[in-house]
Amino acid sequence: MITCQNARDLFDLYLDGELSASLQTELHAHCLQCLSCQNELAMLETCGDVIALDRGEPRLSASFTDRVLAARRSRMVSAPRRWPLVLARVGLPLAAAASITLAILLTMPGENTRTITAGQKVAQPEDVQNLLIGQTGASRSEAALKELRMTPKVASSGFVNELLTPLIEQGRVTVERTMRGTEDLKFLIQRSLADGNQPLQELWQATQVEMPVFEFSTDSPGPSIRWWETPTIIPLEPAEQDTLEAL
């Protein structure tokens, strides 16, 4: 016969559905004789039932879906799909602007964040860095994490936070979109170059710009989007060639 302590140690495994059949028998045998353990287990099971089944949450506003879709439409309209030369002109300055912003934020004279009064807005530099680099550690690349760790943690004043946070967020979204456009474009160019498209090859040669390769998180568990790389020309498989012509 197991003791009360033994029985309680098994509660979690039992409730997680991970207790072996033989130990379940032991636990049940104990609970039949011990009202205190029986009661505690019943309480935990009741809690689980309520959490699982009681829909006590308020309702979402009726217009929720429409609002999401409207916001999605406006985001899609603002997504740029440009040519590489334009990208080089727009993308690079954007990235540069982002790093300058970061540099400004990090060199701002700091205020003491611990002595604020209630209601006063104070920038947490970590927050700004999170905005710039992505959301959580899990989605950041190793290189970005390393850079983040090396970045000094300093405080900047509330007004800087208020002023720059939306701008940075906006910049981040634009950079993300630009990069996605670049990916699509890269694919098209690879296909066209493999096809022997002469004018495009010339344009391509003229727009070769050396750009850094870095990863940018998109908040998804999938692969992250990569910054511009010089594409390798992939010759088309005959089957792909057929598909392409069929389009």
């Binding site: 979690d12 309520v50 006590g56």
Partner: protein, 197 residues
Amino acid sequence: MTRSKERKLVAEARNGSEDAARQLVDSHKDRLFAFVWRIMRKHDEAEDICQEAFLRAFDSLDSFSSQYRFSTWLFTIGYRLCLNHIRRRKSLTGEMDFSSLASPEPDAAVCLAESEDARLMKSKIWEAVGRLSPPQKAAVMLFYREGMSCEDIARTLEIPMATVKSHLHRARGRLRDSLAALVKDWTQIPSLRDIAS
């Protein structure tokens, strides 16, 4: 929603179909909102987070891997956004996290058929859940409400499985401490599963 239907809708939404996007929102919004609201306990904030979670999910449909469920992905994004909001709240208000205080916003009206005792007990249980830490609330909601395994919860919250188990363990300990004195004999509540539904 079946997995194949979900995959089809995701593919259509990726190609710009608004109808597919609408179906994805409609079929996931209530579950996501319940999860987020239980963590935040503020209606406006929870709605904003849900909207942002959907937009971010749509934004990165290109990199969505069909080995995940769309809902898992939404919960992951929603949870990250909750943590960001809580962090921001703390930075605006000193160190206080109001989501861990008891019921800043009451639960919606409970159904009429149930007894006063049952109603009181449920509200006490939710109050105790409201006092858990955000990761504990998230783990508890995904485990009980969503019926996820500890492994799925670990993937969704992006934490090790041992941490998920410890969150559940500590959450149960805290529920027990808050509720033990509430009812003398919990074994005499046989009909709760029916009442709760």
